[in-house]
């Protein structure tokens, strides 16, 4: 009875919410926005160093958002590995005997690596970029992991932590270096905008893949009692 009542209440709340939200969307849609950001964006695109507007927003106009967002990702990675009890990488349980997966892995992984590279390269003038490339890279890593390929760098050790930190570090260095050059923060020097953005994207791709992969690997729990540490120092 109580459960039914609670459900009815929840349904009522959600219906009211949907109604109010839909009404607001409808009303807002009726009037044009007083500021046209796409227009402003198009005017400044030439100065952004890349031709693709979404990449320009992510890595130039609103790069501070992106910096913090990578921070969020690294935090999730840290919190994940802080409680990882990584299974021994030679664990037979990990090695799957699935022939389908084996075939997939054999043909897919190289293909996905190529795809990741393409996405990264495409990002500056057409859809694609670090996030997509990083995700594809991570996905191929997951596939290799499922295929039982030992990836010792995924143990919670210095290497993994270096991997987590790398992309972020480079982004940060560029941010600070840009200020040292007399410009504002995260303002790239005019001559180097494009190579800098490309460099940032490349390390970000690597870092994003690393974090996602680390989270995938640290999700399973095994019987080991203490968190395993690759290096005590």
């Amino acid at each position: 009875m109580m459960r039914l009542l609670a459900s009815a209440l929840a349904i009522a709340v959600c219906l009211v919410f949907a109604g109010a939200l839909a009404a607001a969307v409808w009303q807002i849609a009726g009037t044009p926005a007083p500021v046209s950001l796409p227009g402003l964006l198009a005017d400044n695109l030439a100065a952004s160093g890349v031709e693709h507007p979404v990449t320009a927003v992510l890595l130039n106009f609103r790069s501070y958002d992106t910096l913090l967002e990578i921070g969020v990702l690294v935090i999730a990675g840290i919190a994940g590995i802080s409680m990882a009890r990584t299974t021994s990488l030679e664990d037979p349980e990990l090695r799957t005997s699935d022939s389908l997966l084996y075939a997939l892995q054999r043909w897919f992984v190289p293909l996905m690596l190529v795809l990741a590279g393409y996405l990264l390269w495409a990002g500056s003038d057409r859809p694609g970029g670090a996030f997509q490339a990083g995700a594809v890279l991570a996905a191929s890593g997951v596939m290799m992991r499922l295929g039982g390929i030992p990836m010792p760098f995924l143990r919670p050790g210095l290497l993994l932590r270096l991997g987590l930190a790398l992309g972020f570090t480079v982004f940060l260095l560029v941010a600070v270096a840009s200020a040292a050059g007399g410009e504002a923060f995260l303002a790239y020097p005019k001559a180097f905008t494009k190579p800098l953005i490309l460099a940032i994207e490349t390390v970000l791709t690597f870092s994003i893949a690393m974090v996602l992969l680390a989270l995938f690997v640290s999700a399973p729990v095994n019987q080991a009692l203490e968190p395993e540490e690759g290096d005590p120092g």
């Binding site: 969307v25 807002i28 926005a33 007083p34 940060l172």
Partner: protein
């Protein structure tokens, strides 16, 4: 000069997060001490800059809003940056002694701590609705990571509950931001406020404001959405609890207050203001009442946070549709309440951690006899309690005095009993802890003694909170520092 101050505030915490990620706990401790020093210096530098030349807008990447992200560096932001530097430095110092370096997972405390600090500084200075969302996520996720550190079952349970509440809050906030962007085409708070003030713009919708406020109050643990707070703050390591109660919940409140003060006049209503104020008032009573009956010491302190946070929401009714000086008085009262609660609650959690460490149990009734043995920590706990009760000359008293005056000046006398009852109830739960610690019980003479510096830190914080009332004028003068010439607006 300014770029380096900005770098110090926004980027060095991130850099320190990366550095400490690469080393073990002990080296992380050394690096962090240096980082804390840098942060304190930079925060003082920012204060000097704003006091000298006035506040300013800072364009990240050199792109002005609405295209880029603009930071708003004004007196209020400086106040919070300074508060953060003080409290986080104390908590970091305490943690560096309190946490056991032999536990492998404690090395992750430092990176999470620094990410948290980076997020907090970002939020205090943020002037862009979406950027504030990312900043909030940075804070929430690192806070959840800190609560879950060590991965014990109960800690995980609290962390998951915290994470779920935080996620729901963020999404509600983001939905509000989406509607605001849809309507105005801008994400800058100042920009939207200006558009709302201009004649000829279509009147704004209330729903975006409602959604943002709902998300933010959920993250601030306003009654009745406070359920996640006591478990999370109660179970975390004491320095972490102190950080969470003193600073993390204030971040979402700060954004809510900023949005309310800039947009509330156009989008809010009397009913909404009274509703939020009323929920805050219930939180004061309910939180204090629950604190009185908790069996565990840190749960007492955590429920006390629910109550003390309740006071903050009186900001909403006391600034809506009232004369400018009354509104300013309320804002000052709330700011003072935030500062004094941050200091007192950090002191209380750190002292509680010492007491728990000393008696080896987290229960209130296990404190019997500790008064003879650990009078210093107990005294800090009591001094912080004086501020929570709102007795003179504490910061809590000055804050409540300002709130009382602005309630009367705005004709909203119904908040007076809340201010009074909250003080009495907090006296009750503080004395309950004291009573337990002065009881004598046979066979409980084996106490563990924490190191001296662990006892000094909460004492300093408690004394600051107590003395805040005496220097309320100078402290509040930082908040009203004017905006510089040509500095924007």
């Amino acid at each position: 000069m300014t770029p380096w101050l900005m770098a110090g505030l926004l980027f060095t915490p991130l850099a320190w997060a990366v550095l400490t990620l690469l080393v073990n706990f002990n080296r992380g401790r050394l690096i962090s001490w240096l980082g804390i020093l840098v942060q304190v210096v930079v925060s003082l530098g920012l204060w000097a800059a704003v006091a000298g030349d006035g506040g300013f807008h800072y364009q990240l990447g050199g792109w002005p809003a609405p295209l880029g992200i603009e930071l708003r560096v004004d007196g209020l932001a400086v106040t919070f940056v300074l508060l953060t530097a003080l409290v986080a430095a104390a908590c970091g110092w305490h943690a560096s002694i309190y946490l056991d370096p032999a536990k492998a997972w404690h090395r992750y405390f430092w990176p999470l701590f620094w990410f948290l600090w980076a997020g907090l500084n970002g939020v205090w200075l943020g002037g862009d609705l979406f950027n504030l969302y990312v900043g909030l996520e940075l804070i929430s996720l690192s806070a959840v990571g800190l609560v879950a550190l060590g991965g014990e079952s109960a800690a995980l349970r609290a962390a998951i509950r915290y994470l779920m509440a935080a996620l729901l809050g963020s999404l509600a906030y983001l939905l509000g931001v989406a509607l605001i962007y849809g309507q105005f085409g801008s994400l800058s708070i100042a920009g939207v406020s200006r558009l709302l003030g201009e004649a000829g713009t279509a009147p704004g919708q209330t729903l975006p404001l409602l959604l943002m406020l709902f998300g933010l109050t959920l993250k601030t643990a306003l009654f009745p959405m406070h359920g996640w707070l006591p478990p999370a703050h109660g179970i975390a390591r004491s320095p972490v609890s102190a950080l969470l109660s003193a600073l993390v919940v204030k971040a979402s409140f700060y954004i809510a207050a900023r949005i309310w003060l800039d947009l509330g006049g156009y989008l809010g209503s009397y009913g909404l203001a009274q509703l939020i104020g009323g929920l805050g008032a219930i939180a004061v009573i309910w939180g204090s009442w629950r604190a009185l009956w908790q069996a565990k010491l840190k749960q007492v302190v955590a429920y006390s946070s629910v109550a003390q946070i309740g006071y903050l929401f009186l900001l909403f009714p006391l600034t809506w549709g009232v004369a400018e000086p009354v509104s300013l008085q309320a804002q000052q009262g709330i700011t003072l309440q935030i500062i004094s609660h941050a200091l007192a609650k950090a002191a209380m959690f750190l002292a509680a951690g010492n007491l728990i460490m000393s008696v080896g149990s987290n229960r209130v009734d296990a404190l019997a006899g500790v008064s003879r043995f650990l009078p210093f920590s107990l005294f800090s706990f009591g001094l912080a309690g004086v501020s929570l009760m709102g007795l003179p000359p504490s910061g809590g008293f000055a804050a409540k005095w300002l709130l009382l005056q602005s309630s009367l000046a705005s004709g909203q006398w119904w908040w007076l009993p809340v201010l009074l009852a909250g003080g009495l109830l907090s006296a009750a739960y503080v004395f309950r802890v004291y009573r337990a610690s002065f009881m004598e019980r046979a066979g409980t003479d084996r106490f563990f003694h924490p190191s001296r510096s662990l006892e000094v830190i909460p004492m300093i914080l408690a004394l600051l909170s107590l003395g805040l009332g005496l220097v309320a004028g100078p402290v509040l003068s930082v908040m009203v520092l004017p905006f510089g010439e040509g500095g924007g607006q």
